[in-house]
């Protein structure tokens, strides 16, 4: 494999041969070969080989910020659908204010969207927490869904891409690692512009120099708007 170049691999394909390489995420060692287990892009860094999948479900990890929908209310918390295989559970213990145990729906009702953090994953399930600023029920704004495998592209290197979109549209954007994005802006026009920008990034996520491309896109957008006026 050439240095730092990403290769398209398919399941069962030998990514690289050599005893010195180590298998990373979604790869397996078979004899001296590192074999991919998924369809995606293979990457090598410091002899560690990993595959970045392009499709497939969201795999929850501890510490991930996610956006979900309240699906059920139980005796001591809420069941939240976070677009992964298992539902997450938000206990009333993890809510930073007083909750009336007889009226959980007053805090969050069926169908409400909630921003939370995964604080624990065990065999029994995924536990959410909203004990942090900016977390909790979503009251206004718009929600869009994208492929969770494209979330790193939306965020960009150290948040550069999402910062660009935030600055250009003057919207508050929360990106859940599960591919759900919450946009909250001053007016609907700016929210829709942010939505379009994010969908554009998701669609063009394989182009190199994407940040520049997005800058150009915003420039054209502004020109169009000016022409209309």
């Amino acid at each position: 494999m050439t240095e730092n170049k990403r290769l398209i691999v398919i399941p069962g394909e030998v990514v690289v041969s050599g005893a010195e390489y180590l298998p990373g995420e979604w790869t397996e060692k078979r004899g001296n070969d590192i074999v991919s287990l998924r369809h995606g892009l293979a990457e090598e860094a410091n002899k560690l080989v990993k595959v970045i999948p392009l499709s497939g479900p969201y795999h929850p990890r501890r510490g991930n910020v996610v956006i979900g929908k309240v699906e059920n209310i139980t005796m001591n918390g809420w069941v939240v659908d976070i677009c992964s295989i298992d539902n997450a559970f938000l206990s009333i213990m993890e809510v930073p204010k007083f909750v009336d145990k007889d009226a959980l729906e007053e805090v969050m009702d069926f169908g409400d969207m909630v921003v939370g953090k995964i604080w624990n994953i065990n065999r029994r399930g995924i536990d959410l927490s909203i004990k942090q600023r900016g977390f909790g029920r979503i009251d206004e704004g718009i929600i869009i869904n994208i492929n969770p495998n494209k979330v790193p592209r939306i965020i960009g290197k150290e948040g550069s891409m999402i910062k660009l979109v935030k600055d250009e549209t003057e919207c508050n954007i929360t990106v859940g690692q599960n591919g759900v994005i919450w946009i909250k802006g001053e007016n609907i026009e700016s929210e829709l512009l942010a939505k379009e920008a994010i969908l554009f990034i998701a669609e063009k996520s394989f182009i190199s120099g994407l940040t520049e491309e997005i800058n150009k896109w915003f420039g054209e957008r502004k020109k169009q708007k000016g022409a209309k006026k």
Binding site: I10, E28, L37, R38, L41, L54, S55, G56, D86
Partner: protein, 232 residues
Amino acid sequence: MEFKRPDGRKPDEFRKIKALVGIIPNADGSAMFQTGDTIAIAAVYGPKKMHPQHQQNPEKGTLRCNYNMLSFSVSERIKPGPSRRSQEISKITEWALEPSLMLDKYPNAVIDVFIHILQADAGTRCAGINAASIALAHAGIPMKGLVSSISVGKLDKTIVVDLTKSEEDWEEGEGATDIPISMTDDGKITHMQLDGNISTKQLKEAIELARKSCKKIYEVQKKALKETIKEE
């Protein structure tokens, strides 16, 4: 004596093969596989939580295949809906694909695979397995490798590959034997059926031919999967 196939192919020559990936936008993964006049499409949904709950397996995920021949796929219209034959082929497809999937990553979940035969000219289960294998990879399911499938057979005394319907109905000499075989890319057999008569010696020859042919099919599947990303 030189043996002549009805369509003039050599014994080890297949019909024209074509594979496409990502043909169904609503599915999590999808593919089409065509050999000659046999066309199969496959759509993969999931992994998602298994319902009803009592069918959940806490040890590993479940693969659920659904093979369906569309009513217009053959010259004489067939009754739509599940039949004894389609149920059997659905089960066979599950068994052929399961050894290559890493279902232990998704306990309590189910992966649904829907295979539709748009046009049938023998070898539909093989085309279905080939399409399903690519569709599963496209859906991002962790797999040990792809599964390739081909039907080999014996017409009178000659071993041939990729039979058509007219060849399956061969009646001269010893008649026709049809052997659909599925293999992983490293040549391990995951499924094999046999319909007709064949000697052990010739069966071994037939399996060798299937192994060679599966390699070629694997290359087509591989190429189709690699092309998906370039487009994007």
